[in-house]
Amino acid sequence: MDTILELRNITKSFGKTEVLKDISIQIGKGEFLTLLGPSGCGKTTILRIIAGLEEPDGGRVFLNGVDVTEAEPNKRDVNTVFQNYALFPHMNVEDNIAYGLRIRKTDKKEIAARVAQALELVQLSGYNKRYPHELSGGQKQRVAIARAIVNNPKVLLLDEPLGALDLQLRRQMQMELKRLQKRLGITFVYITHDQEEAINMSDRIAVMRDGVFEQIGTPAQVYDLPKTSYVAEFVGNANLIHGRTIEIKDGVASIEAAGGLVKATVRDKQPVPGMEVTLAVRSENIKLYTCSSQTGIKCRLKEISFAGGMQKIFLQLEDGTEVVSSSLGMNLAFEPNSELYMSFDANHGVLVDL
């Protein structure tokens, strides 16, 4: 895979707060990379540095192999969909979208054709002459997408481009964007704090926390094999169970947790026996029994809730740890406050923070 965009050891502070701490990543041609992280972790700041709207304190930015760290924003073949849309209030929708093309002195007929195409893509055909203040939040957002995408840049930076849309339109736009990205081969750097969106759309996800990348990997990697407890919780909504390694045999670690024994497959990093470890397991992989078996942890059922076709059972371990088990459909075999045993397959248990 050819690298089109590279960030090398980027650091950035605003005043005394370190917003980005040594960010490095290589992004391939035509890749869909998502920056996923909670509010304030520095996602927008990364995009602004790529676009040239913010200068990093340290580190370099390479675009197509060329060091553009000091290049002006208008000299970079990169376009941005801004988080707050930033539509020009004195121009109508059409002029907003055509702005980039006009600067590039594109032929008039071609501009008209491409603007129409872009409007169709964001399902706003016929809105050409409207002014931004005559549009709803979601419509503005779609105009912002059209205005950036119409230029067909090498890299498109999208800062929560679907944040203001309702669920249905959001799904549609996700598919449209993904299809377009595939067809035109544009590299997307995409910000969201919706895990589902990240998992559905991305080739790779970079999970951020407080200005660092916690883990970069394919959706399957960050979802199924989180490296840290933070990624496990943030991306997979996983449960964390603390315990001590007893032995490692045939690539499986036996771990003593409060109330019983569990097993977890050992992957690239090996724990040593006797070591305190944290284990992540997603709620849908937890099975519940009324009696003890060989592996399994004693727990107490606290509460049952039912939403969206999923039953969630809230459990508490002996050391107070809260664990959630979920399953499709309803299962009324368990009573509140009853004592249960939970277990899971060894390959569903992931040792994190090693």
Partner: protein
């Protein structure tokens, strides 16, 4: 509404008695056929006729208009450049510069007038149209500066960034984005400047030449030789012009949305 206070009514009464009643009286008397202001001699346009046949008055009006147009134009350019430049500058002294830019508004006109006179004679400038235009432009700049500055502050910084991101150079951003968004403020600032210039007496008296009369100066000197109702007609005309300008300035200043 309970607990009504009489304060607004009292304020309104003062405003009407002190400001608008005299104006109304002047307007009424400009249509008075009688020469004596104490007597109402019936409705007539005769003072307006006399007004427009007075050569020296027309000359003074012409001067005032020329000075107004030139000085508000100059103030428009300098005030705008100043405000735009200051918005971009990252100077430590920015606050001070902005403060001293608007300070002249608070300096008493009589002091400004004397200062200008002293300075122009030091520079050996011939007193007349030139000094009037320079003087008026100077005291008009702060008005344009303030209005443009306020408008600039209201413009979302990400608009400029978006334009840059779409490939526009700094100059292009200024022409395509900033200028259209601040133009209402520039125009209303200039209209205000024009109105200020048109009715200035104090400063003008200090910096005018022996043979140059502006309209307000003309009115002032005629007052000394006794009020004829012609002056009432002139005042009414000027009032009307100023009113139109100020209303226009306010209207243009509010029209277009800066934020969407």
């Amino acid at each position: 509404m309970k607990n009504r206070t009489k304060l607004p009514n009292i304020y309104l009464a003062f405003l009407i008695i002190l400001m608008y009643l005299p104006v109304a009286v002047v307007i009424a008397y400009s249509f008075n056929a009688s020469r004596q202001s104490s007597v109402w001699g019936g409705f007539s346009f005769s003072w307006y006729k006399e007004l427009f046949s007075d050569r020296s008055l027309i000359e003074a009006l012409k001067n005032s208009l020329i000075i107004g147009v030139l000085s508000s134009g100059i103030a428009g350019v300098i005030g705008t450049l100043g405000a735009v430049g200051m918005a971009k500058a990252a100077l430590k002294s920015k606050g001070i510069i902005e403060y001293i830019s608007t300070l002249p508004i608070m300096i008493p006109e009589i002091i400004l007038g004397m200062v200008f006179m002293a300075y122009f004679s030091l520079m050996k400038l011939p007193f007349g149209m030139v000094t009037l235009v320079i003087g008026h432009a100077s005291f008009c700049i702060p008005y344009v500066f303030m209005m443009v500055k306020a408008r600039l502050a209201g413009i979302d910084k990400s608009l400029v960034e978006a334009a840059r991101d779409l490939g526009a150079s700094e100059t292009k951003v200024f022409l395509d984005i900033t200028l259209p968004l601040i133009s209402p403020a520039i125009i209303s600032g200039m209209l205000l400047a024009f109105a200020m210039s048109l009715d200035d007496v104090v400063i003008s008296i200090f910096i005018t030449g022996p043979r140059t009369n502006t309209l307000p100066i003309k009115i002032y000197t005629q007052l000394k030789t006794g009020v004829t109702p012609k002056i009432n007609a002139l005042c009414t005309m000027m009032l009307l012009c100023t009113l139109v300008l100020v209303v226009l300035a306010n209207f243009i200043g509010r029209k277009k949305p800066v934020k969407d």
